[in-house]
């Protein structure tokens, strides 16, 4: 079964797609033509990457008149942060504190 997380990790596991997200982070709400001009890739290639990002929920599109604008949606990355990163960095910090206490031979007082 493909979970939402799988789709996000898969979408992020590509330098072109990460670059597209960086472009949207720098300036949100861009058209395909604008994004395409930043990449040495065919329009079709950029569309394919945007499609993967959209399916993973990392890019949301909105119509504005005749234009289709692409927006970075950071919520799935936040979900991964909350689910994975927080958990491990907490332990990491706790482990470092334990080490500090042990090396200093006290209860961690400065």
């Amino acid at each position: 079964m493909v979970t939402d997380d799988d789709q996000v990790f898969k979408a992020l596991a590509d330098p072109t797609r990460r670059f597209l997200l960086d472009l949207l982070f720098a300036r949100d709400g861009r058209t395909l033509t604008e994004l395409e001009s930043e990449l040495e890739m065919t329009r079709f290639g950029v569309m394919k990457h945007l499609r993967v990002l959209e399916e993973a929920g990392l890019v949301v599109t909105r119509r504005s008149g005749r234009e289709k604008l692409h927006f970075l949606n950071p919520v799935p990355i936040r979900r991964i942060h909350d689910r994975w990163i927080d958990k491990y960095t907490e332990h990491h910090v706790a482990a470092l504190l334990d080490l500090k206490n042990e090396l200093e031979g006290d209860d961690g007082d400065e």
């Binding site: 929920g57 927006f71 919520v75 936040r78 979900r79």
Partner: protein
């Protein structure tokens, strides 16, 4: 002065009914349970007042008791809510004036509902930094709030 207009779009899929999501956005007993835990006060009609009240904890850290205010523009329960949104944290950010927030709730298949928050800002750099989570130690903005809301509605407890 150069106009600096930006729009930020946040979307999350939640295993909950549109009604449950609507309640979680508009009812204080829900808003105090996720995100910044502010207490929402909505007068749900066009022209009605919106206020977000800071928790006592945030107030003790120097936040004003009313941390966000606005005017309700559109109400279509449980599908769409539009209101202005002015951040009142300090005088500088308050002077940036009102921005505009739209909540769109769309039912999907298998009991999954999408919630899209569109925040439109103009000449509001500090407000933008706040809602995008760019200010260190000031929370993660909408991404954090919506992630927490999803966790609360799907598991019954927040992060």
């Amino acid at each position: 002065m150069e106009t600096n207009k930006t729009t930020h779009v946040y979307q999350v899929y939640i295993k909950a009914t549109p009604e449950a999501i609507w309640e979680a956005i508009t009812k204080p007993e829900w808003t105090r349970r996720y995100g910044y835990r502010s207490i929402a006060e909505y007068d749900l009609r066009p022209g009605g007042r919106y206020r977000g009240l800071a928790t006592e904890e945030f107030q003790s850290m120097g936040m004003p008791s009313v941390v966000v205010d606005g005017e309700v523009l559109e109400v279509d329960p449980p599908r769409r809510l539009v209101h202005t949104w002015r951040f009142l944290w300090d005088d500088e950010v308050k002077a940036e004036g009102p921005t505009r927030v739209t909540f769109d709730i769309k039912p999907g298949s298998n009991g999954i509902t999408s919630l899209t928050v569109t925040h439109e800002l103009e000449n509001a750099p500090t407000t933008t930094a706040q809602i995008t989570g760019a200010i260190e130690n000031a929370g993660g903005g909408w991404a954090y709030v919506l992630s927490d809301l999803k966790t609360l509605l799907e598991t019954g407890s927040s992060l």
